[in-house]
């Protein structure tokens, strides 16, 4: 892929939902490029379609029509199995409510995506320990999610998202459930990942403070792209 080619290319993307026998349009003709190493914030009011767009980019939902390339691959043509395989190698997820497995320790949660790879146990251990230290939770490796604060849980979730070294990290309201201080820490961590590891991040937020962390903002309203101003 040439260096100038966007990592995410979206062309005329359309998505609608069927509710109560009616078709409700959610996204209308979205066309958007996101460059490799970009940190993009998707903003907009509730129901604007930003989470839907994020889900489509992450390959956990399918558009009605249009083209969506991630890393040069048109993911709209992949079937469920291929999409699952693609996600495991290319996408890291950070959710608003962390979505950690409550029965697994911080270490095991971070290791989870690696069990889908061919890495040996020793290789997995090395990676997990490195990632744990990166998010500052080496001393909490054996703690279960219920024994961690919200901020710490989100750091575990970030560690789980980056452990496979994905092309893209999608974050859906990653600070929505956190206090201001924890939110700042998480945003700083995402920013660091973006700058130090050159990881492409797409983050949904309706928090202007969180959005300022991103280098690029995309506004959606009623399923339409409003503008794409660079963040200064």
């Amino acid at each position: 892929m040439p260096a100038t080619q966007p990592v995410i290319e979206i062309r005329n993307l359309v998505k609608s939902y069927h509710r109560g026998g009616q078709i409700v349009p959610v996204l209308t003709n979205i066309t958007l490029d996101i460059q490799r190493g970009e940190f993009t914030a998707l903003m907009g009011p509730s129901g604007s379609g930003k989470s839907t767009l994020l889900n489509l980019i992450a390959g956990i939902d399918k558009p009605d029509s249009g083209m969506l390339r991630v890393g040069g691959l048109d993911i709209t043509v992949l079937n469920e199995g291929e999409l699952a395989d693609w996600r495991s190698h290319n996408v890291g997820f950070v959710f608003q409510f962390y979505n950690l497995m409550p029965v697994l320790s911080a270490y095991e949660n971070i290791e989870l995506p690696l069990t889908l790879t061919n890495l040996t146990r020793a290789e997995r251990r090395e990676r997990v320990e490195l990632t744990l230290s990166m998010v500052g939770l080496s001393d909490r490796a054996d703690h279960y999610p219920s024994e961690l604060s919200g901020g710490q849980q989100q750091r575990v979730a970030i560690a789980r998202a980056v452990i496979t070294d994905p092309v893209l990290i999608v974050a859906d309201e990653p600070t929505g459930d956190l206090d201001r201080q924890s939110a700042s820490d998480i945003l700083a961590m995402l920013q660091r990942l973006n700058t130090e590891l050159d990881t492409t991040i797409v983050m949904v937020t309706h928090d202007a403070f969180a959005a300022k962390t991103a280098r690029c903002m995309v506004y959606l309203d009623k399923g339409e792209l409003i503008l794409q101003p660079p963040v200064i």
Partner: protein, 384 residues
């Protein structure tokens, strides 16, 4: 490794709920095993019946006796090796609750029952004592009878106070043989009858007929019955097993009810288990969606649920299986000899294992399919 870890930890997540489900399974598997063992015990006599023994009785009813003059004619039938007489005595030992069978038999009766092991000395002692009796080991152990003891029996069909001296204790050739009965001399009973105004003298309840080959049972039976066709006491000859089953068939409805109850118990625990798994799967919708988002396939999700269900069933069913023989032994002791053979058969154990595994699989099917099919975006909405 992660899969197993997730399965076990998920199973232990709600300890009370899982514990109660395991307990329910334990009880269900145990109850199923015990009920099936009761059914088996009912058939134990028929199962242990010999293929080389026929029973000739009155074709009208067992309540009617046959003249002993038939004996020589039965002996003359080709294929017949031995003919012994046996009459149901039906007496009471101390109290009606102390029921055990007593038979008035001819001496050669014991020759027909090779599965009853008796020393020659004891047999001789019995033969020499008109009031002598032989008792089985199970009966001896139940009441503590020893050789030389006098067993008082109050006659019901043959009124009076009878006394029998234990001259020998026969053992069963294996644990499936029922040895919970008393045998005494048919002549002793007949002498008593001869002195009374009754038509039962010189009569026998049944003839036990030994034959030379099991495959000739049907032919010999027909030939025996043909001898007495159109006589005042027509006979019905059948294999010992058929004879025993005829007894069991009198309790067919009870046995059928026990069987149905044993299946109902399994169906109830299946419903409980299915509900437990459905609740667990529903609570974890967001987790399954997260796993799918991370790249785990629908098969992995289904396997997590199936594995959890199987783990619960293996523990509960295993505990039930382990407990069944102990409970059966306790039941046998408490039942006071109603079932002389009350052992959990291999077939019952296999059925218990099959039931436990089937419950595990069936209970997981619907939640596993639903969870594996959940759309990621829908499942993630359940978080928070």
């Amino acid at each position: 490794m992660h899969t197993l870890k997730l399965i076990i930890r998920n199973a232990l997540r709600h300890k009370i709920r899982t514990g109660l489900t395991v307990l329910g399974l334990l009880i269900a598997v145990l109850a199923y095993g015990l009920l099936q063992t009761v059914v088996d015990a009912w058939y134990a006599g028929a199962d242990a019946a010999s293929k080389t023994r026929l029973i000739t009785r009155s074709s009208i009813s067992l309540a009617f006796t046959l003249p002993i003059s038939y004996e020589s004619r039965i002996k003359g039938v080709e294929g017949v090796t031995t003919v012994a007489r046996s009459t149901w005595f039906g007496g009471i030992y101390k109290e009606p609750k102390n029921f055990f069978p007593q038979f008035a038999v001819t001496e050669n009766y014991i020759d027909l029952y090779g599965e009853y092991l008796l020393s020659p000395a004891e047999r001789l002692a019995w033969a020499r004592d008109r009031k002598g009796a032989l008792i089985g080991r199970q009966l001896a152990d139940q009441y503590g009878f020893k050789v030389g003891d006098v067993i008082p029996i109050r006659g019901s069909i043959y009124p009076g106070d009878w006394q029998f001296v234990v001259r020998g204790i026969f053992e069963g050739s294996d644990e499936t043989k029922i040895t919970r009965h008393l045998l005494f001399h048919w002549e002793y009973l007949n002498e008593w009858l001869v002195q009374r105004p009754t038509r039962k003298a010189n009569q026998t309840g049944v003839f036990v007929v030994g034959i030379d080959a099991p495959d000739r049972a049907a032919a010999v039976s027909r030939l025996v019955d043909a001898q007495f066709q159109n006589s005042v006491a027509e006979t019905l000859t059948e294999t010992e097993q058929a004879f025993q089953l005829a007894f069991v068939s009198m309790s067919n409805e009870i046995i059928a009810a026990i069987r149905v109850v044993s299946y109902v118990v399994i169906l109830i625990i299946l419903a409980v288990m299915a509900n437990t798994m459905a609740m667990s799967a529903r609570e974890r919708t967001a987790e399954y969606a997260t796993l799918k988002a991370l790249g785990f396939g629908p098969g992995f999700i289904a396997w997590l649920i199936l594995g959890e269900s199987m783990a619960i069933c293996v523990v509960g069913g295993g505990a039930g299986l382990w407990l069944t023989p102990h409970a059966a032994a306790a039941f046998k002791q408490t039942a006071g000899g109603i079932f002389p053979i009350f052992a959990v058969s291999h077939a019952t154990v296999v059925a218990q294992v099959a039931c436990a595994l089937a419950v595990g699989v069936v209970a997981a099917i619907v939640p596993a399919v639903q969870a594996s099919r959940v759309r990621i975006v829908d499942g993630l909405r359940a978080a928070g």
